[in-house]
C-alpha cells in the first residue's frame, strides 16, 4: 500500500488476463507443423516457446505490449486507490489533482494539462500504425 510496487502488483493482476487471451489467439496462429518438427528434434516446451513461437508471434506480442502500456499509463483508478503520497503520484493522479489546487489559476491548469497530453500524442503520431493495431486488437487483428 502506498508504494509504486503495490501499484505495479495491481496493474499486473489487471493486465495479465487480457494479455493472455489475446496472446493465445496469436499463438494459435503459428502453424502446428513447426512445433511438431521441433518436438521431433527433441525440443522441450520452453525451447519451442523461445525458438518458434516468440519469433513468429512477435508482432502480436508487440501489439499487446503497446496496448498494455497505454492502459497502464492512462490508468487512474488503481493509483487513486493505492497511492496517497504526492511524491509517488503518477501522471494521471497529478492531472487529477490539478483541478483541486488550480481552481483559481486556470492558465496553470491548462499548462499542466498540455504538458501531460503532449508526450503521449507525440508518441502516437510517430508510432501511429502500431498504436491503432495494438489498441484495436481486442476487436480485430488488422
Amino acid at each position: 500500500m502506498n508504494t509504486l510496487e503495490g501499484l505495479i502488483t495491481l496493474e499486473v493482476a489487471g493486465g495479465v488476463a487480457f494479455a493472455t487471451v489475446v496472446l493465445t489467439t496469436f499463438f494459435r496462429g503459428v502453424p502446428r507443423e513447426l512445433e511438431d518438427a521441433a518436438r521431433i528434434d527433441g525440443a522441450r516446451s520452453v525451447q519451442v516457446l523461445r525458438h518458434i513461437i516468440l519469433p513468429l508471434a512477435g508482432p502480436g506480442i508487440a501489439a499487446v505490449a503497446v496496448f498494455q502500456s497505454v492502459f497502464v499509463w492512462n490508468d487512474y483508478f488503481a493509483p487513486l486507490i493505492v497511492i496517497q503520497k504526492p511524491s509517488l503520484f503518477t501522471v494521471q493522479l497529478a492531472i487529477g489533482n490539478f483541478s483541486n489546487f488550480y481552481t483559481t489559476d486556470e492558465s496553470s491548469f491548462f499548462a499542466g494539462l498540455a504538458r501531460a497530453m503532449i508526450p503521449p500524442l507525440v508518441v502516437f503520431a510517430v508510432l501511429q500504425r502500431s498504436f491503432i493495431q495494438g489498441l484495436t486488437l481486442g476487436a480485430l487483428r488488422d
Binding site: T20, Q68, Y76, S87, L88
Partner: protein, 428 residues
C-alpha cells in the same frame, strides 16, 4: 505429448486461480454484513435483497447506467459508422483523418475528462463562449452542475473519446465487403439507401456486434471520467461506479457482480472471438478498393465535398486539444477576455510553473517506471500462460478460460475494492 504436465500448464492454472480468487472472495463477502475490515456476520442474501428492493441510490445508479449505455451505444455506433463510411469513400488521404479521430483514444480518461470539464465550464468555457457568441444560453452555469444535463454532457466527452475507435473497426469491416455486391445491386436498380440497408449494414453486423459489446463494457467501466468531471455529480445523478467508492459497506459492488457477470457470462468467448477471427492477411490488399459504392470515387466534386465535410469534423475533433494548448499559453485574464484568439504573447512560463508546481517531472518518472515494470511482468506471465492455452492439453480448458474471461467483463472497480480489502488486511 499427451497429458504433459509442465511449467506452462501450471502457470495457466495458477493464473486462472489468482484471477478468480478476488471474484470468488467478493461473492462470499457479499453474503456478510461488514465494513470491510472485519469478517462480519453471515447474513445470507440480505445484502442483495436490500440492494434490489430498498436501496434508492442503487436503483438510480442502475437506471442511469442503463440509460447512459443505451444512448452511448446508439451514438457511438452511429458516429463511428458515419465517419467510417465518409472516410472509406475517399480516393486518397484517408490517413490523417483516421489518425485524428483515433487520437483521443490514446489520451487518458483523466486528461479527456479534465479538458471537457473546462469546455463545459461557466464564464470562459468553450461552450459558454459559443452560447454567448450566438446570443443564447445561460453562460453562468455549467452543464455538469445541473441534474438534467450532467449525464448527457459527459456523453459528449465519451463520444469524442471513443468514436474514432469504432471508426477504425468499421473501416476494417467495410474493407471486407466485396464490391461485386454493390455492382449487382446497382444493376438491379437499388438506390443508395437500399444499398446501405441491404448490403453495408447487413454485412457490417458482426462488426456492429463488436462495437456494441465494447461500448457496453466501456460505459460500465467509465468511473474515472465521471469522477474527474463531476466528483459524483449533482444530486447523485451519476453512475453506479461511484457508489462503490462512497458506500460504507463493501458488499454493494459485489452485488453488482451478479447483475453484470450474469448476462456476460452467457458466452464471453464467442464475443471476443468474433473480432479476433477477422481475416487479417488480405486486409492491406483490399484497402485500395473498398467503400460503400465506390462509384463516387470517380466524381471529383463529390470527393471535394467529402473532404470538406471531413475537414469540418476534423476541426471539431481537434479543437478540444488545440484549445487546451492555446489556453495553456495565456494569462488568466486573457482566458476570459479573448477566449478565441491565439495567445499573444505566448506565456511559456506557464508551462514551467505547472511542471514545477504539479511535480510533473516526478510524476512522469513514476508513470514510466510503473508502466515499464508492469508491462514487462504482464508479458512475463502472459506469454507462458498463453502458450499453455494455445498448445497444451489442459484439464477443463473451458473452465480455465472462463475464469480468465469473466474478470475481463467486470468493471475493474469491483475487483479493486476486493483488492483494497485484501491489501488493507495484509497491512502492507
Amino acid at each position: 505429448m499427451q497429458a504433459m504436465s509442465c511449467g506452462c500448464c501450471r502457470c495457466s492454472r495458477l493464473l486462472a486461480a489468482v484471477l478468480a480468487y478476488p471474484l470468488a472472495s467478493g461473492l462470499l463477502l457479499s453474503l456478510r454484513r461488514t465494513t470491510g475490515s472485519t469478517e462480519g456476520e453471515y447474513v445470507g442474501l440480505d445484502n442483495y435483497i436490500e440492494a434490489l428492493f430498498r436501496d434508492d441510490i442503487f436503483h438510480q445508479a442502475v437506471g442511469n447506467t442503463v440509460a447512459f449505455t443505451a444512448v452511448a451505444i446508439v451514438l457511438q455506433t452511429g458516429v463511428g459508422l458515419l465517419l467510417a463510411i465518409l472516410i472509406s469513400e475517399l480516393r486518397r488521404g484517408r490517413l490523417p483523418y483516421r489518425m485524428m479521430f483515433f487520437a483521443p483514444v490514446v489520451l487518458s480518461a483523466v486528461a479527456v475528462g479534465s479538458v471537457w470539464k473546462w469546455i463545459y465550464a461557466p464564464y470562459f468555457g468553450l461552450l459558454a463562449n459559443v452560447a454567448a457568441t450566438v446570443g443564447l444560453g445561460d453562460v453562468y452555469s455549467s452543464l455538469l452542475s445541473s441534474q438534467a444535463t450532467a449525464l448527457w454532457a459527459i456523453m459528449g466527452a465519451f463520444v469524442w473519446r471513443w468514436a474514432g475507435f469504432n471508426t477504425v473497426i468499421y473501416l476494417a469491416g467495410l474493407q471486407s465487403i466485396s464490391r461485386e455486391y454493390y455492382e449487382a445491386a446497382m444493376i438491379e436498380g437499388a438506390g443508395g439507401v437500399r444499398r446501405f440497408v441491404h448490403i453495408t449494414w447487413l454485412l457490417l453486423l458482426p462488426y456492429t456486434y463488436t462495437v456494441v459489446l465494447l461500448t457496453t463494457m466501456g460505459t460500465l467501466r467509465i468511473f474515472d471520467m465521471m469522477w474527474i468531471m463531476t466528483q459524483g455529480g449533482p444530486a447523485a445523478r451519476d453512475r453506479d461506479g461511484r457508489h462503490i467508492h462512497l458506500h460504507d459497506r463493501v458488499p454493494l459492488p459485489t452485488r453488482r457482480v451478479r447483475a453484470i457477470a450474469g448476462p456476460y457470462s452467457v458466452d464471453p468467448r464467442g464475443a471476443v472471438d468474433v473480432g479476433l477471427d477477422s481475416h487479417a492477411a488480405q486486409a492491406r490488399e483490399r484497402e485500395r478498393n473498398f467503400g460503400m459504392s465506390r462509384l463516387m470515387r470517380g466524381d471529383t466534386r463529390v470527393q471535394i465535398l467529402l473532404h470538406g465535410l471531413l475537414v469540418c469534423l476534423f476541426v471539431i475533433w481537434a479543437y478540444p486539444v488545440v484549445w487546451t494548448l492555446t489556453s495553456s499559453l495565456k494569462t488568466n485574464g486573457d482566458l476570459y477576455s479573448v477566449p478565441w484568439s491565439l495567445p499573444d504573447p505566448a506565456h511559456f512560463e506557464n508551462m514551467t510553473r505547472a511542471w514545477v508546481q504539479g511535480q510533473l517531472g516526478q510524476a512522469f518518472l513514476n508513470s514510466a517506471y510503473v508502466t515499464a515494470v508492469s508491462v514487462s511482468l504482464i508479458l512475463f506471465f502472459a506469454v507462458p500462460a498463453a502458450f499453455g492455452f494455445a498448445r497444451l492439453r489442459l484439464p477443463f480448458p473451458a473452465v480455465l478460460g472462463l475464469a480468465i474471461l469473466v474478470p475481463l467483463m467486470i468493471p475493474s472497480e469491483v475487483i479493486l475494492v476486493q483488492l483494497f480489502v485484501m491489501f488493507a488486511r495484509s497491512d502492507c
